[in-house]
């Protein structure tokens, strides 16, 4: 790729590198993916920051998003107008937040926004039901859906207002297995102590 590319100026690339988790190569690759979605709409030259937005319908055809049940919500969350039309800035932002190297805290914030369908800063029972329906494509019966939502609220709602505020959500996600960091340092200390005990036993055995 080197210095021959004319899509972005050096300052733009540097700004992208600072504001996202991508390297230069990845940003240029993202731009070519963005362009693939709507070649007639997106120009090759972005040096003067054109204000182009790709509509929702085209973005959700991307293979990374196509199979995701929350694809519409994801794109809407990252769009500035809330309708799902992404400029290139929003596009890069979206993938930066979802990529491997972005921290869990950032992902938690965006996850909360994605699951909050009515955008009232709470995940209420209605939001939960919609999430569950999208997830299972309506294969659960009405009663089962209600039961599952009740149980989920029971598990995560801390302040007792029968909906999840961001602090509830964050607390719950921090304990979810893939996100769990709580006390792992503590338990590796435990492991070390067990290790030392083993060593000691070996020493005693030999002596």
């Amino acid at each position: 790729m080197g210095n021959k590319q004319t899509t972005f100026t050096d300052e733009q690339l540097e700004a992208f590198q600072d504001c996202t988790f991508f390297t230069r190569k990845e940003i240029l690759r993202l731009h070519s993916r963005y362009r693939e979605l709507a070649p007639h709409l997106v120009p090759l030259d972005y040096t003067n920051n054109p204000d182009i937005r790709v509509p929702l319908a085209l973005i959700v055809t991307m293979p990374e998003l196509k199979e995701n049940p929350f694809r519409d919500r994801i794109v809407e969350t990252f769009s500035e107008d809330g309708q799902g039309n992404l400029s290139f800035n929003d596009f890069v932002d979206m993938f930066s937040a979802l990529c491997e190297t972005s921290p869990r805290e950032l992902k938690t914030i965006y996850a909360f926004k994605i699951y909050d369908f009515n955008r009232d800063n709470f995940i209420c029972k209605d939001d939960l039901q919609q999430t569950l329906t999208l997830l299972t494509k309506g294969e659960l019966t009405e009663d089962e859906v209600l039961l599952v939502c009740d149980k989920a609220l029971e598990e995560a709602d801390l302040d007792g207002d029968s909906k999840l505020s961001f602090s509830d959500f964050q607390n719950m996600i921090s304990k979810a297995p893939d996100f769990l960091r709580y006390n792992h340092v503590l338990y590796s200390h435990l492991y070390l102590c067990l290790l030392l005990l083993l060593l000691l036993l070996l020493l005693l055995l030999s002596g």
């Binding site: 700004a15 049940p69 929350f70 500035e80 937040a97 950032l106 999430t131 297995p177 102590c193």
Partner: protein
């Protein structure tokens, strides 16, 4: 739960937004990316530093007042811009703002900042380069996209084992084999072990003489005997005692022993380090099925899936999981409703079935014992019947172990249905039984070998072992381990070629009932993991007797990766019973640790207890292999000697033990204290939430009562939150009974 009608709903039942609520700082931290009517001041007062640090999880509260903002911005300077949850344009603005602020700083600070940024970018590039060097990155990525993260964890586990075995081999090679190889070139003088012409040190050569038929070579290759016996492959070849180079003397016997200890230690540390990353279970208190519904709804979908079939299957597996959880709730209810009579009946059935399982295990172990003894005797008599029959005699223990490991899981999964446990417990219990079966069978094999080795005609044995039959018993044990490894590999390849591929063909082309009942192959993660852990345990045990075994295992796992990958992509569909990746990480490494513990046991016993053979190997001059260490220590300078003796004395050992116990208890107590604090905080949070709602209700009532007065009452509402009775005692108006306390959690 009390129903507070704080949020006034309109006719349609929808919650109308309350302007007061929108001004709360906790709401503003989640501004949406809209060019909405959100005013400027609100934007700025959104806490930039809202992102809590990962370790403490604290919530940086911002304040309304401007003067504090400058302070705040300096504190949050540490937070890289890209970790903020803002649109790109705002991040760019922040960046230029920070650059401007940076101009105001001194030169030293500027330089520090820019160097920090440069280092960060360098580190990112280095990490990217390193990760691109990872083995099989593209293949694993492909598997992840097609089958999800559950199966992905199996393959990354396999990759981990390949690298681990390679490192173990490098350790053994560089400390044991390399000095012997380079000795002639580096002008080293090798002193071999003295052959005192006693009975014990007779080692007949096992090389075949005369005309060697072709298939005997193959027998040798597969069984590690014949021409392979006196090579670098086995312990017996390393008869070197010391190598004298120009300046140093290299004690090979010591190096052999220490490299064994080193690789066991290294494996332990590496596995523990890896498992600490994904450790879920609380050792002190069992939080079984905590948050299971929330986890499935919010963290259940695998965002890496790009394949349509995989997405469909993931959806159905999530559905299955949810239905299973609902089923578990029902079963829990049923269990709670059990009568006394039913309980007795269930316990009786469980007792009988467990006895049956123990009986089956005992029968398997006895069969392995008998097979091993028979195989050893058949090899000793050296009566060649037939090429094939000879091979079968050689491989009899392996065959029996493999058959037992094939039949018992099926048996266990049938039995568990009658024991009436909850579904999650059923899976775990069956798995535990299979793990026990697999790993103990190796132990039984070794035990039967040793009983043969230490079984002489006249008790006690002259040399400490049966020198007539086993002039070099370590090589014999090494050969058994070698055979187990080879047979394991052959089994995996054979099962893939002769069972999985035909199954796919039958299911695809044949429409008969058999095909429908059998169904398409599912990639059963637990069984596959047990297979490779079994192989790795053999490798750990066998490396002491067969130093080149890790290299063989590396090559074996390398090929297994590709075989499994091809079989997976062509034959398998993802499991309908999902296996969660995170808990599976713990499962894999937990089983591997059990295997390591089990592997340490035979090695320790044979090093410390059993007399090493006097005819071969580096420890000829010693009684047991361990003795080389005390002998070396006694040759060290006296200062080092006293230090080492002090370290291994009882006084030190006891005090070390006591200190370690204290440390453990401290850690456990700390965990308990943290738990209590968390429960307290949770209760306090619930109370604060209720206070907040109560106060807003009162404020709204007050606003409605006096519409003239503007809602300037933005002063921080203090709540007497420590008195729970207040909340229910008031009917109207805001009434502060005490002077407002400065609560640290006030909103």
């Amino acid at each position: 739960m009390e129903t507070d009608a704080v949020f006034f709903t309109d006719r349609s039942g929808r919650i109308t937004s309350n302007p007061l609520l929108d001004q709360l700082p906790s709401y503003q931290s989640l501004l949406y990316r809209r060019k909405s009517s959100v005013s400027g001041p609100k934007r700025r007062s959104s806490s930039r530093g809202r992102l809590g640090s990962s370790s403490s999880g604290k919530w940086n509260m911002s304040t309304f007042t401007r003067p504090f903002e400058k302070q705040k911005s300096q504190v949050t300077e540490q937070q890289p811009i890209r970790e903020l949850a803002k649109p790109m344009a705002e991040k760019r603005r922040d960046k230029t703002q920070r650059l401007e602020e940076a101009q105001e700083l001194t030169n030293w600070r500027q330089w520090r900042q820019s160097s920090r940024r440069y280092l960060r970018r360098l580190r990112d590039d280095a990490q990217e380069w390193l990760s691109s060097m990872k083995l099989w990155r593209g293949d694993i990525h492909l598997i992840e996209g097609m089958f999800g993260t559950g199966i992905l964890s199996y393959f990354s586990f396999l990759r981990f084992l390949v690298v681990l075995n390679l490192i173990i081999f490098l350790i053994k090679f560089s400390f044991v084999m390399l000095p012997i190889i380079i000795a002639p070139y580096a002008s080293g003088n090798i002193t071999y072990n003295l052959n005192d012409a006693g009975v014990c040190s007779v080692y007949p050569s096992s090389a075949r003489r005369g005309l060697v038929i072709f298939h005997e070579h193959i027998t040798d290759l597969l069984s590690g005997g014949g021409f392979l016996e006196q090579t670098y492959l086995f312990y017996g070849y390393y008869k070197v005692d010391k190598i004298h180079f120009t300046n140093v003397t290299y004690n090979l016997a010591l190096a052999y022993l220490l490299s064994t200890i080193a690789y066991l230690f290294l494996s332990l540390i590496w596995i523990v380090k890896r498992s600490a990353r994904g450790f879920k279970r609380n050792l002190v208190q069992d939080e079984d099925r905590f948050q299971s519904f929330c986890n499935k709804i919010f963290a259940g979908w695998d965002f890496c899936i790009t394949n349509e079939n995989a997405a469909r299957l993931k959806r159905s597996s999530l559905l299955y999981e949810l239905k299973t959880d609902l089923e578990e709730e029902r079963i829990k209810q049923k269990i709670a409703d059990r009568t006394r009579k039913e309980k007795c009946r269930i316990y009786l059935i469980r007792l009988i079935l467990n006895l049956f399982v123990i009986g089956v295990l005992a029968a398997c172990f006895y069969t392995i014992y008998v097979a091993t003894i028979f195989s050893q005797e058949a090899q000793m008599t050296k009566i060649k019947v037939n090429f094939i029959v000879d091979l079968i005699y050689e491989y009899l223990p392996s065959i029996v172990i493999t058959l037992a490991n094939f039949i018992t899981p099926l048996l266990f999964s049938v039995i568990i249905n009658y024991e009436d446990y909850s579904p999650a417990f059923e899976i775990r219990f069956t798995l535990m039984r299979c793990v026990f079966m697999r790993l103990t069978s190796i132990g039984v094999l070794l035990f039967s070998l040793w009983s043969q080795i230490t079984n002489c005609e006249e008790e006690p044995c002259i040399c400490g072992y049966n020198h007539l039959l086993y002039s070099c018993w370590e090589t014999r044990v090494g050969q058994e381990m070698y055979k187990l490894t080879i047979f394991d590999f052959i089994t995996i390849v054979a099962v893939t070629i002769f069972v999985e591929f035909p199954r796919k063909l039958i299911v695809k082309h044949c429409d008969c009932g058999l095909a429908k009942w059998w169904g398409q192959q599912e990639f059963a993660i637990p069984q596959n993991v047990l297979e490779i852990v079994y192989g790795q345990t053999i490798c750990w045990i066998g490396t002491f007797y067969c130093p080149m075994l890790p290299a063989i295992c590396t090559i074996k796992y390398f090929f297994i990766f590709y075989i499994k990958k091809v079989s997976l992509i062509n034959n398998c569909r993802p499991a309908t019973r999902p296996f969660r990746a995170s808990s599976s990480n713990f499962f894999f490494l937990g089983v591997l640790l059990i295997g390591l513990a089990l592997a340490c046991l035979p090695v320790t016993v044979s090093v410390a207890q059993i007399n090493c053979s006097h005819a071969c190997g580096p420890f000829v001059n010693f009684n047991t292999s361990w003795e080389v260490l005390p002998t070396t220590i006694s040759q060290l300078p006296s200062g080092a000697q006293t230090l080492l003796f002090a370290l291994s004395s009882e006084a030190f050992a006891v005090s070390f033990f006591v200190i370690t116990c204290l440390a453990m208890f401290y850690v456990i107590a700390l965990a308990g204290a943290h738990k209590r604090v968390i429960n307290q905080l949770r209760d306090q949070l619930a109370m604060e939430g209720r206070d907040k709602r109560f106060l807003i209700q009162k404020l709204c009532q007050a606003q409605r009562l006096s519409p003239v007065r503007s809602p300037v009452s933005k002063s921080k509402p203090r709540s007497p939150s420590y008195h729970t009775s207040f909340a229910s005692n008031f009917s109207e108006g805001v009434f502060l009974a005490h002077s407002p306390p400065d609560s640290s959690t006030h909103v």
